[in-house]
Subunit: 504 residues, 2 copies
């Protein structure tokens, strides 16, 4: 369903976009009824990542779908951690590049009560740049759909939310050898429970044991690691980001939604959080270590069907939570057809009844799979007013803003100059496998001087061009004549040996 | 919560069990209010697997908790597929052995309409033993809790349900090279859709594509493999088994519930279906290949919390779907405590409110983790009338009877005489790791003659004794003085080289 999107953002970049243009969405393909946004100012103006430092002329140049220029850093500028970066716009499916990216060095510090309270509502609090606090290196890629508003907002704010929430536990981060206290008093100091009896204890008078005996139960504590506390903070920051988008849509035009993939380096560990179909892999000694899973209608089918099963009212009498291998025709009533429900991975035959004629909640295969015939990703930020075309059925209840977080302990391995984390939007991975990316980046880097300051940027550029291909008569083509990706492509290549390079 | 269970089965094995004895349940620890079963006959009498062919004296002997005899096949009898088997009773936690096992060679054939209809309600239809049809080798282990009734019933009937359901697609199994038809006419022959327009098509008049254009949509079919049809049949057979237990509880005493682990060999592939905390691994050239995952309150926490979140009425105002690292005391209201909800893998702090004082839906760690302070496994059969102690809150909505099915293609590998599938109840695995089982079985089998007809039975016995240990002054102990498993233990060792042994 190639959709028509009236994008309120379109007036904001001068003459770049005619109003009411068509937008074609790769992973999204969503309809947006954002007419209530008309007249609202954008939360952030359209642009490319600040670190690219584009002039207005270059910004205009970046949108040329015919040539699809590859943007990297200016020759004289550097990203933190020697990070390599490259991006290119799509082949015409949307006027603007709906991908966004961030790369920030932040510092985690205890915030004052007042700042803490404000931070939820006014995330524009000053970024600590004075170099005190615990360093937090952050990378994010955001793949927007149905507009660029959400992706831009998330690229500007998500890392601040994470930094602020980590600030709440700064005192715990400063003592990493001590396990986080289970309970905190209001002043933030550990609270030690003393009493023996609980309020709602369910007790079995005859059979005391660890569960029923309050003296044991109240003092049996599950150990929680600092690492899992950091994971929880990242998870909840994504939720907070999503709530913030919803809240600010009252006052601003924030179009569409976005997939979000963030990597955080904190105290020797890499936390990779993914909500959507972007992808991160580590390449270590040419070996591939996946650092994310994609969340799509196919990978999350059972979660979505389960929700449709438990809450049929969300299906609006138009959809069935059952999956069928194709649409059913009315004359097939009473015949038997393959189906599967939320409990099944296999398929079975069922007799077709009237209800099965509804459109399946999950339909299509691979990149064409959709939730409610509308959206091709099942996790991400935004999409609060996304509805099924020509209906009042909201998609948002089926979408999750919660990332899956994977942790990689950098201190456990020795990393050479060619060991990297690659983060990319689906445009990068749709036409290039993990293995191909690993081989390409490994062989490219092994030909670069280890001390070359732009080696990771050149590697990112190399990867990106491999997926984009070159323009021939029959469109963008890879060397093997297969179609290149027509999507926006964004790619980070991050050295695992860290900002200073490998120890020698 | 060690529970008191009045077991209606107890009168049925002569003087073996006093009425109203205490039963302690390892993985279950469940209460059972089965008073309505009083006076109902058992669906099947208590006993050990038929293939053990026990005399009444041996049956009595098998229940000796003090000596915990290891039962294997009689010297002169053989199981199909040269299967090795061993079992032993628990160390006293329940009067009877609540584990059960089956090993059956069946034949899949098209059933007549009448037999098909009957089979759901009267599963005692005759087993084809005339050797025609497609051979189906089946192994099942069932780990009962709160009584042995469910485990016995499932061990007698599950394989018949699977065989009957496979009978429905016997004509498809006979032509394995043809993909199963998406739609079947009433006579079972493939039905080819012809029309172009659908009934409930959601159409976008402006933007025809694969989803909105009926001519494409109705003819875009997802390919479904025969393998995934067999998986679906196994999944639905577990559901049917669970429904049958519920239905027959009206007329029979069928106590408790059970974990079910089944392996099916059909047409060169091994299908391993697991619902519960039993476990299956393949050992191939000493390498471990897990063939099941355990379903426990910890592994299924997020699914259960999600249900509690979506359907809070199922928590009966006694439980909270949030997880806390320990119980909260009333005086801790207003303080901050670590928690996680259904969306989180990490932990975060939240301010404690009144609702958080309720008992957590999931509580405890490892083998002590419980759903609603009651049950330690989250998938299995039965448990329809299981309630939280002293309440009217049913546990069943949180339990799933759906197995996870893993498939192993035997034809893809060469298997030697020491390559096996090991299936065991949790008693086997609680004290012995996969690696230890693999090492033990590999080194044991490499010392046996490849042609020894009892080598797999001896290997099963070896594994079982490793987990049981020997009785010392301080209980059952392993060679390293660690505690042996006090649970019922059941173990199959199945040669992957098949019934005839490896080709030479």
């Amino acid at each position: 369903m190639i959709s028509k999107v009236k994008n309120a953002m379109s007036t904001l970049v001068g003459g770049m976009m005619p109003h009411g243009h068509h937008q074609h969405h790769g992973s999204g393909n969503v309809h947006h009824q954002n007419c209530h946004q008309d007249g609202l100012p954008p939360r952030f103006p359209y642009g490319r990542p600040e670190f690219l430092d584009l002039t207005p002329e270059l910004l205009q140049y970046s949108t040329e779908h015919a040539s699809r220029p590859v943007l990297t850093l200016r020759r004289d500028s550097r990203l933190p951690w020697r990070t390599g970066y490259a991006e290119t716009i799509n082949a015409g499916k949307s006027m603007l590049n709906e991908d966004q990216a961030s790369c920030e060095l932040l510092y985690v510090k205890k915030l004052s009560e007042k700042k803490q309270r404000n931070s939820t509502f006014l995330p524009d609090i000053p970024v600590f740049q004075d170099g005190t606090g615990i360093p937090l290196q952050y990378w994010g890629v955001f793949d927007g759909h149905a507009g660029s508003g959400c992706a831009i907002m998330a690229s500007k704010l998500l890392h601040r939310l994470i930094r602020d929430r980590l600030g709440d536990i700064a005192h715990l981060l400063e003592n990493p050898s001590t396990a986080p206290p289970i309970c905190l008093a209001k002043n933030g100091s550990p609270y030690q429970a003393e009493g023996k009896k609980g309020a709602n204890a369910i007790q079995d008078p005859e059979e005391p044991d660890a569960i029923t005996d309050p003296s044991i139960r109240f003092h049996t504590e599950k150990a929680v690691s600092l690492e899992s506390l950091i994971v929880g903070i990242i998870e909840n920051s994504f939720k907070q980001m999503d709530e913030l988008i919803e809240k600010e849509k009252v006052s601003y035009a924030i179009s569409g939604g976005c997939c979000a993939l963030a990597a955080i380096h904190l105290m020797g560990k890499l936390y990779v959080a993914n909500a959507g179909d972007s992808r991160a892999i580590i390449i270590r000694k040419k070996e591939v270590i996946p650092m994310s899973n994609e969340f799509t209608p196919e990978s999350e089918r059972q979660r979505l069907q389960y929700l449709g099963f438990l809450r049929p009212e969300l299906l609006g009498n138009e959809f069935t939570h059952l999956e069928f291998p194709r649409r059913i025709q009315h004359k097939e009533l009473g015949k038997k057809m393959l189906y599967r429900d939320h409990t099944m991975n296999g398929w079975a035959y069922k007799t077709i009844v009237e209800d099965d004629l509804k459109f399946p909640l999950i339909y299509g295969e691979g990149k064409k799979a959709r939730v409610m015939a509308t959206i091709g990703v099942t996790r991400g930020l935004g999409d609060h007013d996304l509805k099924v075309y020509n209906s009042n059925i909201y998609i948002k209840p089926f979408l999750s803003c919660c990332p899956e977080v994977m942790v990689y302990d950098l201190s456990k391995y020795q990393h050479g100059p060619n060991d990297v984390l690659v983060m990319g939007t689906d445009g990068l991975w749709d036409v290039t496998t993990d293995r191909e990316v690993a081989d390409a980046v490994s062989s490219f880097l092994s030909c670069c001087e280890p001390a070359d300051p732009v080696r990771y940027t050149l590697a990112a550029q190399e990867l990106l061009m491999r997926s984009r291909g070159v323009l021939k008569e029959r469109g963008w083509r890879l060397p093997n004549e297969r179609l290149g990706s027509g999507d926006d492509i964004t790619c980070f290549v991050i050295p695992l040996s860290g900002p200073a390079g490998p120890e020698t």
